[in-house]
Amino acid sequence: MSNDFLQMHLKAVMSCLVIFLYKVHTTKAGQFFSSGHTNNWAVLVCTSRFWFNYRHVANTLSVYRSVKRLGIPDSHIVLMLADDMACNYRNPRPATVFSHKNMELNVYGDDVEVDYRGYEVTVENFLRVLTGRLPPSTPRSKRLLSDDRSNILIYLTGHGGNGFLKFQDSEEISNMELADAFEQMWQKRRYNELLFIIDTCQGASMYERFYSPNLMALASSQVGEDSLSHQPDLAIGVHLMDKYTFYLLEFLEEVHPASQANMNDLFKVCPQSQCVSTPGHRTDLFQRDPGSVLITDFFGSVRKVEITKDTINLTSPVEPPIQRSGSGDIQIESLTYVDQLPVAEIIHQKPKQKDWHPPDGFILGLWTLILLVFFQTYGIKHLKHIF
């Protein structure tokens, strides 16, 4: 009896052990794909125009610099700058945008690719980039080609208010439009997880209306508070950065591709003592625990490598070019250059044949009116004399 009992106990323990080991094995494999994303994208937007909004361009470029440094390539970054500060005629140091006073750090750098610039940064273009509804001739560098396994970082900066963000001093985007755009992205499965950061006055109002899953949002100030700028540079003459992004840049400079810093550290960036405004965040729509989300899940492009032991056949792609046959079928007469200013030819140029277009509506209408009046006056019986 005790033997059976012992045996049962042993079997129970053994099965428990087996189940436990199996679980450990699957969680290890599960953790391998726990973040669920395979590629990273970033959409960085500066919405302000004019020289005195230098700091917004510097904000966007510092996030661009961090994101590039941590591994996201230019082809996966959509950078939108509403005005050009680096080569602005008022910039005493051309081709530079500084983030620290005394010109310590040039965030513009030597290797920058801006996808949307100047007048192209509009609410319409921004929403089209997010939802993917672009005209067919748009080049690849201007598209957000994300799929359902992409983690996207969206950063907006500019002048904003309670529930809106101003684009180029002439139009605005509301928080409802933004929330709807994200919902469209979710329904078309254009993202796996999305991190939304906004650095404007009353920034928290922009993420109030989000309702799609897997969204995490950070803002530089609460509703009713203003986000303040950091420090001016006396040589350049304008404020260089906003406080929130300045401390965000300092935080990101410490992060490297293998770093294990997580989102809870990001939420602590720029407390009220440094920022004067209270940064806010929203994680209720996000499914994972923010403490387990790495910074590099959004800011970097850490690829996971799958090792395979299968054989893959590679064939040489270079085709031998067809050799030109000797002198058989090639034209032997020599080719000539065109005369750049053939005066005699130009003077005697015949007027070029205009393509015939059918008469447009005005002419047709005029003739119809004339014919109507004619038949009205003289009666329909004259028709047979004409035809």
Partner: protein, 566 residues
């Protein structure tokens, strides 16, 4: 880390002999005002057929950039010229540039005669190029594209020139900055890592009076007999450094001062890599070190110039320190008068009418020559062609050829082309009056008070040359002297761009809709609201309640049975 993928590898056939070659050169020309003009020219020659006339589709690219090759074959482009310029070329102070360009962005393309829908190809081509060069070229559409009828003949090989396949557009507002230089540098075979391109640091290049980068693609002769053609991709970068802003006021220049770098090696993929310094005015004007015995004489822009040549493919150019730095020091001053010069300005006052004046100067003492003036004016400046006058030396000068295409509102700009004979030593003035249009309120840019730009006029001319030029096309000529094909010995072809114009259009007050809504709502609320209340509300007289003392007194009186107070 080792890869664990076992591969099976089929041996490749022997690689085909390379049919593409790359040459790079830098020309430095000291200017008389103390400024210095540096022109980089990178040329890739490739013997292939993009337009698929005989071969299969091209898929293997070596030195020629794949992005441009695909653009050429997809849109059947015969010739493509695109330039991005910051600043304006001052002809009177600096002479003529090797390759001229207008401020902003300029794109002109000759399509192949097999193309059926040129406008569709043009629209897609501008979008693709805007992605390649990170520029807003997608703003080029039918409202700023013209089809010149006599200017902009192809610079490459060809016989048929039907102008229906030519499209020309400029964006004078386009800003040029590092984001345009980065993809431009990536098109070079060595990138910015080796050769002359290491000198291209944006912080120095954009801190200059003039900066222009361009890409020119055209078919050219492969050899002297010109029996076969090859594609030439020429990337040029012209920059003029001002000795006040970047030279600290001293008339002394070195490669390190100009570019904050020195040269350490030639591009390994280049078949020739040379630096030319214009020493025609040496030794009275400036002195050059390190000295070299290699000299080259070339006829450039109608003048015979002498150049010191430094060959970077030879190791001894770099000396002991393995780095090459030029030093130029000025000694004297000399004035230069270019033969052809043009300027343009807007006259008039107010926001309704104005007048465009284009002034062309012919500084040759005794020779007259023809120029072709091309003007492309946007539709919102409505030109009155009956007020067009051309005067030289205060007498009327009738052009021998005029082509005018009027604008169509929101559809097409004005195009005016005239062939004018310039009398010697004279000033010719072309004036035309215009009226400014009122745009629809959605058509204004976010900063309409800045003004609206009108693109530069193009003056193309055959200027008489002071020395005879050779019409033979050899491969040994330096690149900067062989851009424009020479057809006759006594004159050379030159193109001069005028300044772009900045015109203010009548701008509405954009806050008015908001003001009107506020005012109307206030008037309606106050006026109608109170009238409505007056008509629909009934009034009742209401007795006020008596004070506490009186109420208490009345209460006591009621108890006593005495009559109450009022």
């Amino acid at each position: 880390c080792d890869s664990r993928l076992p591969l099976t590898f089929t041996p490749a056939p022997a690689p085909a002999p390379a049919r593409d070659q790359f040459q790079e050169e830098l020309v430095i020309r000291p200017l008389h005002s103390g400024d210095i003009y540096a022109s980089f020219q990178f040329r890739t020659l490739w013997d292939t057929d993009f337009l698929q006339e005989r071969q299969k589709k091209v898929s293997h690219y070596r030195l020629f950039p794949k992005s441009l090759g695909q653009v050429l074959s997809k849109f059947s482009v015969r010739e493509l010229h695109i330039s991005f310029t910051q600043g304006f070329w001052r002809t009177m102070q600096w002479g003529q540039p090797f390759i001229p360009s207008p401020p902003g962005a300029e794109l002109w393309v000759w399509f192949h005669h097999t193309v059926s829908d040129v406008d569709g190809n043009w629209k897609e081509l501008t979008n693709v190029l805007s992605g390649i060069f990170c520029a807003s070229l997608n703003f080029i559409d039918m409202t700023n594209t013209v089809q010149p009828s006599a200017s902009f003949k192809p610079l490459g090989l060809g016989n048929a020139t039907d102008h229906r396949f030519l499209r020309y557009a400029t964006l004078p507002r386009e800003i040029v900055c590092t984001e345009n230089l980065t993809p431009w540098k990536k098109l070079l075979p060595c990138g910015s890592k080796a050769g002359l391109a290491v000198l291209m640091k944006s912080e120095k290049l954009f801190h200059s009076s003039f900066h222009s980068q361009a890409v020119h693609i055209r078919p050219i002769c492969q050899d002297e007999q010109c029996t076969s053609k090859a594609w030439e991709l020429r990337q040029t970068l012209n920059v003029v450094f001002d000795h006040y802003t970047s030279g600290q006021g001293k008339k002394e220049w070195s490669l390190f001062k100009m570019f904050s770098r020195t040269l350490t090696e030639a591009c390994p993929l280049a078949s020739s890599s040379k630096v030319y310094v214009d020493i025609t005015d040496n030794p009275e004007l400036f002195e050059l070190s390190p000295a070299t015995h290699l000299l080259s004489r070339a006829v450039v822009l109608g003048d015979r110039r002498t150049y010191s040549v430094y060959d970077l493919t030879r190791a001894e150019t770099f000396g002991q320190l393995r780095s090459f730095n030029l030093l130029l020091r000025w000694k004297g001053d000399n004035m230069l008068r270019p033969l052809l010069h043009a300027e343009r300005y807007v006259a008039g006052f107010g926001l309704q009418t104005g007048e465009i004046h284009t002034v062309i100067y012919n500084n040759h003492p005794y020779r007259a020559f023809p120029v072709l003036l091309m003007d492309s004016v946007p539709w919102y400046l409505q030109l009155y062609v009956h007020t067009l006058t051309v005067t030289s030396k205060s007498r009327d000068n009738k052009p021998s050829y005029i082509h005018y295409q009027p604008a169509k509102d929101r559809h097409r700009p004005h195009l005016l082309e005239m062939l004018i004979q310039l009398p010697p030593h004279s000033m010719t003035e072309v004036t035309v009056q215009f009226e400014r249009a009122l745009l629809k309120w959605t058509e204004y840019t976010p900063d309409p008070n800045h003004g609206f730009y009108v693109g530069s006029s193009v003056v193309s001319a055959l200027v008489p040359s002071m020395v005879a030029m050779s019409t033979n096309f050899t491969q040994d000529q330096p690149l900067f002297s062989s851009f424009v094909p020479v057809k006759e010995e006594s004159s050379y072809f030159v193109r001069v761009y005028t300044e772009p114009l900045l015109v203010n259009l009548p701008t509405p007050d954009f806050s008015m809709p908001y003001n009107v809504i506020c005012l109307t709502c206030t008037v309606v609320a106050v006026g109608y609201g109170s009238f409505y209340n007056l008509l629909t509300r009934t009034f009742q007289v209401d007795e006020p309640s008596p004070p506490l003392a009186k109420r208490l007194a009345n209460f006591i009186r009621r108890i006593r049975g005495v009559p109450l107070l009022a």
